[in-house]
């Protein structure tokens, strides 16, 4: 199963501490080598670089930051391939534990979502042809 981890925080200005950066770097390196992490990335604060393309009342419009009304902002994401939701939650706990240890006072959420990709629901074909 493929999972997307989306980390949000109400304190978007607080970038990660160097200690947290190092710990997350180690974790990412390990998970990539262990063949489980497919991709990861951090997002710059939306005030610096973001824009929103919205549809409101049937009209399309582009809005540049900063977005003062936004309560929770996405700080980063990761894509994992894991066996099941239990594993996904265990991995997310480990990731958030690093924040607890290396960035005191920080609040945030790591949302674990299942990616709707086809592929792991048990379908296996009969036969051993190369052309199947």
């Amino acid at each position: 199963m493929r999972f997307m981890y989306i980390v949000t925080s109400p304190q978007p200005d607080k970038g990660p501490t160097p200690a947290l950066m190092e710990a997350m770097g180690k974790l990412a390196d390990r998970e990539i080598k262990a063949g489980r992490m497919l991709d990861t990335g951090g997002l710059l604060p939306i005030a610096m670089s973001g824009a929103q393309v919205r549809i409101t009342d049937g009209k399309l419009g582009v809005v540049d930051g900063p977005f003062v009304e936004t309560k929770e902002l996405i700080g980063g994401y990761a894509i994992f391939e894991l066996r099941d939701m239990e594993e996904a939650v265990a991995a997310a706990r480990e990731f958030m534990q690093l924040h607890l240890e290396h960035m005191p006072g920080w609040d945030g959420t790591c949302e674990v979502r299942v990616l709707a990709t086809p592929g792991v629901d048990g379908a296996c074909e009969v036969g051993t042809r190369l052309h199947a």
Binding site: R2, K26, D29, R30, I32, K33, A34, G35, R36, L38, E81, R83, D84, E86, E87, V89, A90, A91, R93, E94, Q97, L100, T117, P118, G119, V120, D121, G122, A123, C124, E125, V126, G127, T128, R129, L130, H131, A132
Partner: protein, 428 residues
């Protein structure tokens, strides 16, 4: 939460921690098989304690401390090579005292140790089956029961196989060594062979556990990713990873709702996994950059890539596929590959050219009972409007097919020939 839920979530936590536990322990103890035993013992301890205490905040550190304690007990008790033992005990005791950095071993770079694990588990001294079981256990953290279910074997058989394999490794002094340089390249074949075996066991399975079979594909892919990360200079690893990613990208398009197979040309390409195809194509590109484009796995991946790149069946580059099968055939003489080449030639140049190749293969002993030979012949003959011969070929194929679903598909072909024949007669 029920007891079963707690058990499942503890297992999940353990599996997340398992790679760095086993790599950390094997570095410390200089013995891969002993390290594996200890990670299992740590799991047993967690299953005892955590339902009562809850999962600790740092489960990895807890498991590591438990495993180390067991290791110390075990070493003290055992009368093995005295000097090595004294040295290890001293090391371990020093590390125990070096609190609070208890899990320093957990944070070291795991790349080299993972490489060692894979090469030890897949040692050419072991049988292919033993290598597969050991790799699934040591690299992917599968339990003996899960491996048994996946390979449709009794649990006792797999347990025996693992115990024997570990004993072989220990007794031959192979429990802690990593090949380097040219030796690594030479031994790589025996590793890739096992990873591919595991993948195919999951991919081409005719029966077995609904859930665990695809899990084997997933675990083989994981091992492929590990290999390309920890030994990135080996072209064939990238080739195999490409082949597996590209094949796995079609998993959900390969069967219909009833579980019946859908042939590649009839699959709904919207169901192909684009992310996986992208990963497969980039692994193939990497294999080529490293000069391995003509390798056994890379050539097969290149063939599948032709299909993956075609948005519609009509876009398929059949001449290129035929040429790639030609190269593959030069590399490994196999009538099965020749048969596949014939199929591609049939699409590229027409049924007559293909039939010439297929008829040339009729005497091959390896294909004597291979129903695909007859079903390919039937298909070519039908396209050439030689309906009576086509029907005979499909009937022969149906007699040879061991699988109910494939027999049903062949029967459909036979019925269609009747229709086609009728249409030809009417139009005349």
């Amino acid at each position: 939460m029920t007891a079963a839920d707690v058990h499942r979530s503890i297992l999940a936590v353990w599996r997340i921690e398992q790679p760095r536990l086993i790599t950390g322990l094997s570095r410390m103890l200089r013995d891969v098989t002993l390290a594996e035993d200890l990670t299992q013992e740590a799991l047993v301890a967690a299953l005892e304690h955590w339902p009562v205490t809850g999962v600790p905040d740092r489960p990895g550190a807890w498991l590591m401390a438990t495993a180390k304690r067991r290791a110390l007990d075990d070493l003290r008790r055992r009368s093995m090579l005295a000097r090595k033992q004294a040295m290890l005990i001293r090391d371990l005791e020093q590390e125990q005292q070096a609190m609070p950095d208890l899990d320093a071993a957990l944070d070291d770079d795991i790349g080299d140790e993972l490489l060692r694990l894979i090469f030890t588990a897949c040692h050419p001294k072991l049988s292919r089956e033993a290598r597969a079981a050991l790799a699934l256990r040591m690299i992917c953290g599968l339990t003996t029961e899960e491996i048994a279910r996946a390979f449709l074997q009794p649990e006792a058989t797999i347990a025996q196989r693992i115990v024997r394999a570990k004993r072989t490794l220990s007794e031959s002094g192979l429990a802690y060594e990593t090949p380097h340089g040219s030796e690594l390249s030479e031994r790589l074949a025996s590793v890739l062979e096992v990873v591919y075996l595991i993948f195919n066991e999951g991919y081409a399975a005719a029966s077995g556990d609904e859930w665990l079979r695809p899990q084997l594909c997933h675990d083989a892919l994981r091992m492929g990713r590990v290999l390309t990360r920890v030994a990135p200079q080996e072209a064939e690893s990238h080739g195999l990873l490409a082949l597996m990613e590209l094949n796995a990208s079609r998993i959900s398009a390969r069967t219909d709702a009833a579980g019946d197979p859908i042939l590649l040309m009839d699959q709904n390409r919207m169901l192909w996994d684009r992310l996986q195809i992208r990963r497969g194509l980039s692994a193939l590109a990497r294999a080529r950059e490293l000069g391995g484009g003509q390798g056994f796995y890379a050539l097969q991946a290149a063939i599948i890539a032709c299909h993956a790149r075609a948005t519609t069946p009509e876009d398929t580059e059949w001449p290129r596929i035929a040429a790639l099968y030609g190269e593959l055939s030069d590399l490994v003489r196999s009538p099965v590959i020749e048969l596949n080449r014939a199929v591609a030639i049939g699409m590229a140049e027409g049924p007559a050219a293909a039939l010439a190749i297929v008829d040339g293969l009729a005497g091959e002993p390896e294909l004597k009972n291979y129903h695909h030979l007859q079903s390919v012949r039937g298909d070519l003959l039908r396209k050439l409007c030689r309906f009576a011969e086509a029907r005979a070929a499909f009937e022969a194929a149906a007699r040879l097919a061991g699988n109910k679903r494939e027999r049903a598909l062949l029967k459909r072909h036979i019925a269609e020939i009747g229709d086609a024949e009728g249409r030809v007669l009417i139009s005349e």
